[in-house]
Structures are given as structure tokens and as C-alpha cells.
């Protein structure tokens, strides 16, 4: 039997350890008290009352009271979830605690009056719309494991796919499995991951490097942060599998320095994986060795672009380099290098676990598996949402996201950050995948979804994104360096009430030039928010330049004086 903290020598040893951990936990049930948004409404007191109640009922050996992250149900705060069946109660008060302990914790009975809407059909977490419409594959462990405890990950089966790969598959077979899965890069490009690996394997070079792109910078995206902070071991497992397939002996995780907790958690995870023999020499007795370094960025968005990331890793300014050669051929220090996004790596153990062909059964024709979307902006349930590819915008924003606050009208959703576009209400029933979004002028990007209501000015949003790109342009190529600034000036003029019809034509023309002639993805996609809004919301631009009004009431220069005063007062 494997001792706590000792090296795990083989996949069989890993399974034994997992079984042992499961056995140790049998009988322990948890009461999860939301400790985030619910705090304001007395969650701390409720948590304390549960602790006292558990002690009074003499249940300490079997029941743990745990403060957890947000369940995404703030409207019902404070929320309590009771294992093993994930019974969920809302609007908990201290005086309810004795009944909950007596009836639900002890006897497993559902108390109708504490259920959501007093509806016993809503008694379990999985019944709540926010969860019922989601498919947690990549996020399966997030919020369920203590990210600083490798044993929690092992108990949930993390590293088993790596064990299987390392001892029973050839590297080429792994690549074939990923190709069969149809997995496309989750960082935004959507390039088939298996194909990229295959190209890299066929490239000449003395060493192959593996880089995990955790420089998540798209405004509105935070799924990589969640994975690194909440389930770092699954990301490491994906990297181990990839490194084995590519025969790489060195990996880097390039992570934003703005995410200190992600940095900390991934470092702790690497340290613990080393102690257990899951990283370092001779992983799980397979003769395969891998070291992974964490590299913090320093606040440059462009470093998320793969050639800029390589330049940054090499100790240069993070400026993009012309492609080809692609990094898979000539990357870090001139050697073949694979750069995949955090979510891409986190998908790899899922694929190995179920098999590539099975994985390819979910999703759409051209986009397989699930996608994590970061739901933000003017929507009731903000947070991470994992759904199969092909879910519609309506399902995500209304079924999972609970619609817009204050019953406001849905105007658009900005998809794919500064490289993406605004998708209007007429596409609410569009099944989302890499290809469908491109057709409507947006992109999947990293999966940011920013919901906007009728009080948002679309021109102002386009101006925001173009300012972002002007600010973050590395300055190497002229179309991006000057073009984004000129685009911003035109938009400033329009929002400032000095725009003309000609400005709209100039915007379109210049945007196309920047798109076609920029060196890297940043510049090539920077005009997308402008072009997509011009395409779907031309009337709103026209209102700004022809009628000199801002229909959303945002651009102060275009508001009648009375409204400016009201807006200032409200603001």
C-alpha cells in the first residue's frame, strides 16, 4: 500500500492509492456553504450554525462543514449543498439549521419548504437550471477538489490517463488518438491539436519543447485562471501526455503574473507531482521523464500570441515573429515547439479517458467536445459555463445565465474578446462552434461571452476594443501600430459627436487594411470588433454620425444637455 506522500511507482500503484483514498473517505459527507456572494447575507453565521449543529448532533466523524466557492445561485443566497446527493437549499437562516441536520443530514429527507421555489423537483444541484444545462467534462474537478492537495486529484482519477498512456501506448498512438478526437485549440485559433502535434513530431531538431499558454489576456475570459487555480493537476496531466506523445523532456507554463493564485497553485501542484513521481525522472516507472517550469509574464497581452510568447520566453521583448516557420517547426531556441492553451491541455486526459472516437461523438461536425465559456457583463449568473459545442447563445445566456438583470432587453453578446465580434439578438439561436461564429463575423476565441443590454452603446464598445489593441500592439509592424491608433481616432470622433458619413467608409477601408497586412494575430483580428459592429449595428453608427444621437444614451457629447445632467447624477 502506498504511504501518504510517497512516490507512486506504477499505474497499478496509482490505482491502489486512489482506492485507498476513496476508502478513507467513505462515510464522510460534506455540507457546502457558499462563502462568496452569500457572505453579505449571513452565510458566515449559517456556516457557524451548521458547525455547531453538527457538533451537537455528534456527527463530526461523518460530516464536514466546508465553505466553498460560489454556486452561481446568488439570487437564492445563502446557498447550502448537502452531500452525498447534493441536496440544495436556498435562503438559509440560522433557525433552519436544526431541521436540516435532523431531517436531511441524518435521514436524507428533502425538506420541501427550503427547496428552490419550494419545489421538490429542484431539490438537487443538478436540477437547478444553471447546472442542468451544463456538461462538466473539463471542469469536472473544479470546485470539487482542494487544488493544493494532490491526493484530492488522485482520488478523483487525475493522472490515470497519463498512467495508461505512459505504460500502454506508443507516442504515435497518442497523437492518432488526439487527431481522432477532432480536438481544436481552445486558445482561439481553433487549429486541430493532433495535427499540430504531428507536424511538430516530423520537424527536425535536437530537442522538442512544450509550452502551456496560460497568458490569458482576452478581456472577458477567465477559464484558464479557473483551471489553473481550481484543478492544476489536470493541466499537468495533459502536459505529461502531450510531452510523451511529442517526446519532449521540458515544458513551460507561461502564466500571467496578474494571476498570483494561479501561479501559486500550479507551483504547488508541480512540487507535489514531483514528490509523487508524477513529474521528474521515470514517471510512474515508465522511463519517461519530464520537467515543467512556471514562467510568469509581466503584463503584455501580445505574449499570448505564440511567436511573441517564444520571444518573451527567450528573454526578448514580446514581439511577434513572421510565420512560417511555425513554432511546431522552429520555436523556442530554434527547436520544434508545441504551444497549446490551458483548456486544450485539460481536454487531453478527457480524450484519453474516453477514447478519441467517443470524444468526437459530442459537439458539432467541425468542433468536437465541450467548450468553457466565461459568461460576464450584463447577465444574472456570471461565471464559467461548460456546454457541448453547438449549444446556442440563447441556451447559454438565458437557460444557464438566467437572462439579463432588471428584465432588460438583450442587445448583443461580444464573443472572442478583442479578436472577436458582437453577435446581435437575431442570432440567439445560432449553434455556437468555431465555424458558425466565423460566419457571423465573430470568433470562438478563448470563449469570453460578454452580454450587453440596450443601455450599452455598440460604437463605444468597438472603441473600447480598438483602444485595447492600440494599447497592446507590440509596435513591430506598421499596420497594427498606426492602424489601430487611426481607427481609434475615428471612433473617438464618432463618439465625440464629430463623426461624418465618410468616417464610416474610412473605418471599413482601414479596418480591412489592418486585417490583411498585419504581421500577427493581434493586428489581423484587431479590426474584427469594428467590422462586426458595422455589419450588425450600422444603424447605430448612422445615428451617431447622421442624427447626432447615441441611442443607448452613453456618448455624452451626443446627449441633450438635460440627459447629460441626469446621466451624471445617476453615474
Amino acid at each position: 500500500m502506498t504511504e501518504n506522500g510517497s512516490r507512486i511507482a506504477s499505474p497499478a500503484d496509482l490505482s491502489a492509492r486512489r482506492e485507498q483514498l476513496i476508502a478513507e473517505d467513505v462515510g464522510i459527507r460534506r455540507i457546502l456553504v457558499c462563502s462568496t456572494g452569500c457572505l453579505a447575507i449571513g452565510a458566515r453565521e449559517v456556516e457557524a450554525a451548521f458547525r455547531e449543529g453538527v457538533a451537537a448532533a455528534d456527527l463530526q466523524g461523518e460530516v464536514q462543514v466546508v465553505a466553498t466557492g460560489c454556486h452561481g445561485l446568488c439570487a437564492m443566497a445563502p446557498v447550502v449543498v448537502i452531500e452525498p446527493n447534493d441536496v440544495v437549499y436556498g435562503r438559509n437562516r440560522i433557525k433552519y439549521v436544526p431541521d436540516v441536520i435532523e431531517q436531511t443530514v441524518k435521514s436524507g429527507e428533502i425538506i420541501r419548504r427550503f427547496c428552490f421555489g419550494r419545489d421538490p423537483e429542484m431539490a438537487h444541484l443538478g436540477d437547478i437550471p444553471f447546472y442542468a444545462h451544463q456538461t462538466k467534462a473539463v471542469l469536472r474537478n473544479v470546485g470539487r477538489v482542494d487544488p493544493q492537495q494532490i491526493d484530492d486529484a488522485i482520488q478523483r482519477g487525475v493522472y490515470e490517463a497519463a498512467g495508461q498512456v505512459l505504460t500502454s501506448m506508443e507516442p504515435d498512438e497518442v497523437v492518432e488518438e488526439i487527431i481522432a478526437s477532432g480536438l481544436r485549440g481552445r486558445g482561439g485559433g481553433g487549429f486541430p491539436a493532433g495535427l499540430k502535434w504531428k507536424i511538430c513530431k516530423e520537424s527536425p531538431g535536437s530537442t522538442t519543447y512544450l509550452i502551456c499558454n496560460a497568458d490569458e489576456g482576452d478581456p472577458g475570459a477567465f477559464m484558464d485562471r479557473a483551471l489553473l487555480e481550481g484543478d492544476p493537476h489536470s493541466v499537468l496531466e495533459g502536459m505529461i501526455i502531450a510531452a510523451y506523445a511529442l517526446e519532449a523532456a521540458k515544458g513551460f507554463i507561461y502564466v500571467r503574473a496578474e494571476y498570483p493564485i494561479a501561479v501559486e497553485h500550479i507551483r504547488i501542484a508541480i512540487e507535489q507531482a514531483h514528490e509523487r513521481g508524477l513529474l521528474g525522472p521515470d514517471i510512474l516507472g515508465s522511463n519517461f521523464s519530464l520537467d515543467i517550469e512556471v514562467r510568469e509574464g509581466a503584463g503584455a497581452f501580445v505574449c499570448g500570441e505564440e511567436t511573441a510568447m517564444i520571444a518573451s520566453l527567450e528573454g526578448e521583448r514580446g514581439m511577434a515573429r513572421p510565420k512560417p516557420p511555425y513554432p511546431a517547426l522552429r520555436g523556442y531556441l530554434g527547436q520544434p515547439t508545441i504551444i497549446n492553451n490551458v483548456e486544450t491541455f485539460a481536454n487531453v486526459p478527457v480524450i484519453i479517458g474516453q477514447g478519441g472516437v467517443k470524444f468526437a461523438e459530442s459537439g458539432t461536425e467541425g468542433s468536437k467536445g465541450t467548450k468553457i465559456f466565461a459568461l460576464a457583463g450584463q447577465v444574472n449568473n456570471t461565471g464559467l459555463v461548460e456546454v457541448p459545442m453547438g449549444a446556442t447563445i440563447r441556451e447559454i445566456v438565458f437557460d444557464v445565465g438566467g437572462g439579463l438583470p432588471k428584465k432588460r432587453e438583450f442587445k448583443a453578446v461580444q464573443m472572442g474578446g478583442p479578436s472577436g465580434g458582437c453577435v446581435p439578438a437575431s442570432y440567439l439561436d445560432l449553434p455556437i462552434d468555431y465555424d458558425s461564429l466565423r460566419e457571423v463575423g465573430a470568433i470562438m476565441g478563448s470563449g469570453g461571452m460578454i452580454v450587453m443590454d440596450e443601455t450599452t452603446c455598440i460604437v463605444d464598445i468597438a472603441r473600447y476594443f480598438i483602444s485595447f489593441c492600440a494599447e497592446e500592439s507590440c509596435g513591430l509592424c506598421a499596420p497594427c501600430r498606426f492602424g489601430t491608433v487611426r481607427l481609434k481616432e475615428i471612433l473617438d470622433r464618432i463618439c465625440g459627436g464629430r463623426g461624418t458619413i465618410d468616417d464610416l467608409n474610412d473605418l471599413e477601408r482601414l479596418a480591412e487594411v489592418v486585417q490583411k497586412t498585419s504581421l500577427c494575430g493581434l493586428g489581423q483580428t484587431a479590426p474584427n470588433p469594428v467590422l462586426s459592429t458595422l455589419r450588425h449595428f450600422r444603424d447605430e453608427y448612422l445615428a451617431h454620425v447622421a442624427d447626432r444621437t447615441c441611442p443607448a444614451g452613453v456618448c455624452t457629447a451626443l446627449l441633450p444637455e438635460k440627459e447629460v445632467a441626469t446621466a451624471a447624477k445617476e453615474g
Binding site: 482576452d218 496578474e258 501559486e264 528573454g315 514581439m319 457583463g377 450584463q378 456570471t382 494599447e471
Partner: protein, 206 residues
Amino acid sequence: MSLWPAETQEMAKKLIGRYPDPKSAVMPLLYLAMRQDGYLTEAGMREVASWTGHTPAQVQSVATFYGMFKTERLGDYLVSVCTSISCMLLGGDEVLDAVEDETGVPHGETDAEGLFSVEHVECLGACGGAPAMQVNYELVEGSTPDQARSLCRWLREERPEAVNTDAMQEQFGGRRSFDWAITEDNSAVGPYPAFGPYGTLRRGDT
């Protein structure tokens, strides 16, 4: 001859040892230099050059490319307010106004006393709890402009030696993107991101 104390030199050697080429270690060494002197001094950048084989000009060009390498002295508390899209839609600009007004420091500047530096930043990946801000890179989410004012007042009055996400969130925050219910306390003790390997103290170390 290195200007750095023996301990920092040891750390520099260790950081360089992680890469196949010493030039690759320039960014980690810049964080180390920043921690050593409080910000990136010319001497510090020359030191990094001598360790990595870059010229001092190359090191400076790298240092000035990245927003988080600071070549001027900062206040004890660096307040970074996110004004990126999700936060902008939910009042990030108003939070920035409140912070500027309460501290008397416009964004991009530091007060004469050396207490506050204020900046506005791009997405902090905290859109689930927008609007978001950071104090010495420790995150506070879901604050109203009034809470942001209180946070600044608290910093001015209490002058905490270390700041930490959980404590600030509880007092001055609101809705949060996620919370892992971590027991271990991490805190930043200066206007630098709190990374262990670069000599930044965590509460556990003190």
C-alpha cells in the same frame, strides 16, 4: 562583482539554471531585481544584464516593454483598477474615479508621500466578480465605488504591512468569480506580485 547580497545571487543562479539559455531568465531576474530595490533601477538592470549575457540596453528594452516591470518607485500600495470590458459595463470606471478621488492620485501616478500608486489595467480575469481591482496584485472583486473608497481609507489609516485577497474581499468586496476555500494565507508585502521564488514574502514565510 555583483551588487546583490549572497542570497539574491543564489536565487539568480537557481533561476538561470531552469533554462537551457541564460538569456531566457531575463524576466525572472527582472522580478528579482525589482524585489531587491523596490523598482527597476539602472544598476539593477545592469546587474540583470551581467547575469544573462544581454547588453544593458537589451535588458532595458525588455523591462520597458512589459507593464508590470516598473522603472519608477511606486507607493507602498499599488491600486490597479480594471477598466476592461466586463468591468466597464458594471461600473469599473466609477470605481477608478472613486479611487483617484479618495487617494488624490490620478491613474499612472504615485503620491508625493509614497503611499499610493494608482493605475488602470486591462482584464484581470475576474469578470465573474466585476468590477475588479487589485492592491499589490491581490484581488478584490465586486466592490462598489464606496467600498473602494473605504478600502483606500483603510490602507491609509491602518497601513497594513501585508495585504491579502481574502481579508480585503471580506471587508471591501462583493460578488466573487470563484473562491477555493483555501486555508493557507498568502499575502503581498509590497507593490510586486507575490511570487515565492523571487524573494517576495508570503505570510507563511514571515
